[in-house]
């Protein structure tokens, strides 16, 4: 009896750990959350396909990106230049993993982790991961990225 109780506690702890590892908090009307989640998936797809026009179109007209080491970049041509993948390079993996999305009127904040893999022109594969905060803005019935900032999380295998 005692050992089966212990087993139950163990399973419950395992269950809680599982919940914690994948905890995602989405707050807002389901249709808005669904649209934002769809756009998050599309962003990764466009990036892997090198579809710069669609990537730039994921942002509002006054959308801003905050890449490491550079000043804030704003405007179509700036975004286009930044997101253009160099000749011969391929983004073979990209995934955005939101931890929380909260819709507040016509805005939403969204934060979480991302991961990706690059195949360089000389055939070398590198993986990278980071964290991000996005401020979304509702444009018509769609949701677009207004602020997009991120930075890396060190790869534990890097050292």
């Amino acid at each position: 009896m005692k050992s089966s109780f212990r087993l139950l506690i163990f399973c419950f702890a395992l269950f809680l750990t599982g919940i914690n590892a994948y905890s995602q908090t989405y707050s807002g009307k389901q249709k808005h959350i669904d649209q934002i989640l769809e756009n998050i998936g599309l962003f990764s797809r466009y990036y892997m396909e090198g579809d710069v026009q669609s990537l730039v179109n994921a942002y509002t007209d006054d959308g801003k990106i905050f890449p490491g080491n550079l000043p804030i970049i704003e405007g179509m041509s700036g975004l286009e230049e930044y997101w253009t993948i160099p000749e011969g390079v391929k983004i073979v993996h990209h995934k955005i993993k939101p931890e929380e999305i909260k819709v507040i009127k016509k805005y939403a904040y969204d934060y979480g982790y991302y991961e990706g893999a690059t195949l360089s022109a000389d055939g070398k594969k590198s993986t990278w991961q980071g964290k991000y905060v996005i401020v979304w803005k509702k444009v018509g019935k769609d949701w677009k990225i207004y602020l997009d900032i991120w930075n890396r999380v060190k790869n534990p295998n890097d050292e």
Copy 2:
């Protein structure tokens, strides 16, 4: 006549440059904007004074920071550890320069640039600057930081 017209054009261009260099867009009730601006100033003061308790208290209980290379840090003890300045080191300058603050119900987003200077234990001074996005949350009558992410802008003198 011609040269005074040229002077007028020159002054007008100078005027526009001045506006552009200090353009700040604040949207929301003045009392909320004022409180957030005051808290932004206090944050820099606490950091320069090494007042970790007040720094941590600038965040909501579930406030999160996104420092470079590290995972997202959440919770009092994590924030306290991160913001504690090492023995002998001094933050001799810190300034946050918001470009836009927008209050949306009980939340606000805020983005801009920051700059600072560190005096290391061996007396060397280093300057640094970056950009940030903050999501503020209204807690009672005060505003606290819920999400705080930043990354550097390269110093033009670094190369």
